[in-house]
């Protein structure tokens, strides 16, 4: 009957359409995987940029720190230098005198292992 082949035709076409639908779904899946990768990359970039900013802020803050520490240390050092100079000026002459006095200070002794040779 001619109707039969037509029916079969119709069924075959329906099957084809069905396959097309499924095919589209599969394409969608592939696309989704690609999307996953590209979106992930975007998010990662954003994260990295944020971290970079945080780090730069941290660096800036402690560069300032080093400067201030240096200033403090310098001030302290200069104060100490002044103190040293002052102490030195005060006691210098006394020490020079002490040195010179001791240069001429002599106390001759016989070595402790020796005995005076008696006559």
């Amino acid at each position: 009957m001619a109707g039969q082949s037509q029916s079969i035709q119709t069924l075959l076409e329906a099957e084809k359409d069905a396959q097309k639908v499924v095919q589209q779904a599969r394409q969608h899946r592939t696309q989704r995987l690609k999307d996953a990768r590209s979106e992930a990359t975007k998010e990662i970039e954003a994260y990295k940029a944020q971290k970079e900013q945080e780090f730069k802020a941290y660096e800036a803050s402690h560069a300032g720190n080093t400067q201030s520490v240096q200033a403090t240390v310098d001030k302290e050092t200069n104060a100490k230098l002044a103190a040293i100079s002052q102490q030195f000026d005060e006691s210098r002459d006394a020490v020079v005198k002490k040195l010179l006095d001791r240069v001429v200070l002599v106390e001759p002794e016989l070595h402790r292992n020796l005995k005076k040779l008696g006559a």
Binding site: V21, R29, V73, I84, V95
Partner: protein, 226 residues
């Protein structure tokens, strides 16, 4: 169920039913695929992001540690430089002091106690050498004073040690020296330098702890003093 063959209407209706069935199955399958795809999308994306985030975190942690260490090094260098400046000044002061002492050394040779000093220094020398024959080296300007001192010195030496010494004066010392004597044993093997310059030099070295205390006071960082 019809036991007779279907008519056209029934065939059509059956056909439509079958077509609809096929379509329905396809739609359901497609939906499953889509849902699964979305799930996988989410999982995959989360995995990638987490992976990279961890790597980035580790990277920045390392950078941060590096920066911290660099800062510590910088601070330590500052402290060190500061200490060096202080020490440098102290050293300069010390040299200044010694220089002043050396300059004033010459005045000692013209003092009234000079002969007595020469005598003491001679006796000290004799007692160290313990030789029976000694050459006494002096500056030309000291020749007379030395002769006087040597007589008394040899007597004092005998008194202290019970030994005799025979000496000879040699005016060989350079006039640039500040004063004092050098003794050489008879066999010319041992020299004893008892000049003012040498004595000052020895003192400069040995008196350093005492000088430090006199100039700058005790060291606060030091824990043990005998």
């Amino acid at each position: 169920m019809a036991s007779r063959p279907m008519n056209d209407e029934e065939v059509l209706s059956e056909m439509n039913k079958m077509v609809a069935f096929i379509k329905q199955e396809a739609l359901e399958k497609a939906r499953e695929i889509r849902v699964k795809a979305d799930e996988e999308f989410a999982i995959e994306k989360a995995k990638l992001v987490k992976q990279e985030q961890q790597a980035i975190d580790a990277q920045y942690e390392k950078k941060r540690k590096g920066a911290e260490v660099a800062q510590k090094i910088a601070h330590s260098t500052l402290t060190n430089k500061s200490r060096l400046r202080l020490l440098h000044l102290r050293e300069q002061n010390l040299q200044d002091l010694f220089q002043a002492a050396r300059e004033q050394l010459a005045t000692l040779a013209s003092s009234s106690q000079y002969v007595q000093f020469l005598q003491g220094v001679l006796v000290q020398g004799f007692l160290q050498l313990l030789d029976t024959e000694v050459n006494i080296h002096v500056r030309e300007v000291d020749a007379a004073a030395a002769k006087q001192a040597a007589d008394a010195a040899s007597k004092q030496y005998t008194e202290i040690s019970g030994r005799q010494v025979k000496y000879e004066l040699v005016t060989s010392l350079s006039p640039d020296l500040a004063g004092g004597i050098k003794l050489v044993t008879g066999s010319k093997r041992i020299t004893l330098d008892n000049t003012l310059d040498e004595r000052l030099r020895l003192l400069e070295d040995r008196m350093l702890p005492e000088i430090r205390n006199d100039l700058y006071g005790n060291n606060e960082n030091r824990k043990f003093y005998t």
